[in-house]
Subunit: 235 residues, 2 copies
DNA sequence: CGACAAAAAATTGTTGACAGTTTACCAAAA
DNA sequence: TTTTGGTAAACTGTCAACAATTTTTTGTCG
């Protein structure tokens, strides 16, 4: 129809046409709102208000929330509604630990199957991060770091493992356990990257597992320390 | 209320009642139908027919299917409906491998934190399975085997890891990669159980990881062999 | 007889309305 | 002032109807 192009804002028209179901669009919109803080943890999602705001009826809203509940991002309490899920201290610890384990498994798998060409590709990324860490360019370091991690996820040759890893990372991201990096932290982090690359280059699965797990565990405690420092600083 | 305390088994009855919306009931019903073969892989789920059969309207059906789609059990094709998801050969391999990795992480974690009392509890289970394997009582062996695995999941001290493990196991179960056991297979399988117990009893995480991974990997190939044999036998 | 187009049927997508439950509010009594 | 009881508003749970799309059937022409 002609007016399809009117009411799409922020979405590419291709995506809009691919998943024409409103529920799907709504789901991604709610996800975005949670990530960007328009919904706070434990807040109730008012179906009527959201329906009015997004100009749809409650049906698609409820379908989207059901899906997000299954994904663990939303909690449902019968007769009271959908609530943005907040991880307890214990749950956050479990998710972080699980993420470390699964990342370790990924690097282990990479060590068992990596080619020389792939080793070279990882080395390029680590070298580039080294240079950026030296100059302290956090904003440029971050995307390369992301690429390094997703490159490993691809190389592990197990799409499901990678998917689980990304899901856990997203959950932590939503809960505002975000990586906050300063100069020397970048350097330490990249030294761990190098340890991973050397382990997989040596085709040593044990060592790769250990290095991978250590990287996430250390990263988690670095993030936690930074966020505690921030909290004390701003109070 | 007075009768709250009466019929609580495992979890509180208040939770039981609180999670009962029609959509939730329908979700479990569809799940059951898939597991028990009333829906075959790739079959379309007819919303009207199912609504009539379950005596509800299409709203709850769609909410339930959205949730199952998020869980990966159902596939959505816009304007064509919900389809029972079938794992491809590659996907099934990935899921099996991921399950092995995560079980290995669980046993590794158990080795790092297990108490003497818990070691004793595991030994009791393995001994009991040994006795049942000798007599070849498959139907009695199976529940003890299940208890052994869930006991390990509990002991690993990470609810999220355990949840992921169970999700993967369920997915494979639904896809009919089921454990089919005969006498000597039981014996071999339980020898692997014993290897896991000895590794965690020695507080050796490395060894526990190896033993745990091997158990699932071997179990998968045993199941696969059995199912191939069955298929050839029945054709 | 087969290919193709048009009509009909079946099915999904979406909406608004109504019933049942929870929450908020307010007045009266202790 | 606090508590209690009851009423009204807000909200969720469910449904049936309508719109849009896909699939099946039917009819026509080569």
């Amino acid at each position: 129809m002609a007016n399809e192009t009117e009411n799409m804002q922020g979405f590419s028209p291709i995506d809009f046409l691919r998943t024409r179901s409103l529920a799907n669009v709504v789901q991604h919109e709610i996800e975005r709102m949670i990530v960007e803080g328009e919904f706070t943890p434990n807040e109730r999602i008012n179906e009527n208000a959201l329906a009015q705001q997004l100009k749809v009826s409650r049906g698609p809203i409820r379908e989207a929330c059901s899906a997000l509940a299954a994904l663990g991002l939303i909690q449902v309490i019968p007769n009271r509604g959908f609530f943005v899920r907040e991880l307890s201290e214990d749950e956050a610890r479990d998710v972080s630990e699980a993420r470390a384990y699964i990342f370790a498994c990924m690097t282990m798998s990479v060590a068992e199957r990596i080619t020389d060409a792939e080793v070279a590709r990882l080395r390029v990324l680590v070298d580039r991060m080294d240079a950026l860490a030296k100059t302290g360019e956090v904003s440029q370091y971050y995307p390369v770091n992301l690429e390094f991690h997703s490159e490993l996820a691809r190389m592990c040759g197990n799409a499901r493992l990678a998917q689980i890893y990304l899901g856990l990372a997203r959950e932590l991201h939503i809960q505002r356990y975000r990586a906050l990096a300063s100069g020397d932290v970048l350097d330490i982090s990249n030294r761990e990257h190098r340890a991973i690359v050397e382990a997989v280059a040596a085709r040593d699965p044990q060592q790769a597992f250990t290095a991978g797990r250590a990287h996430i565990v250390n990263g988690t405690s670095r993030t936690r320390r930074a966020s505690v420092a921030l909290r004390h600083g701003s109070d």
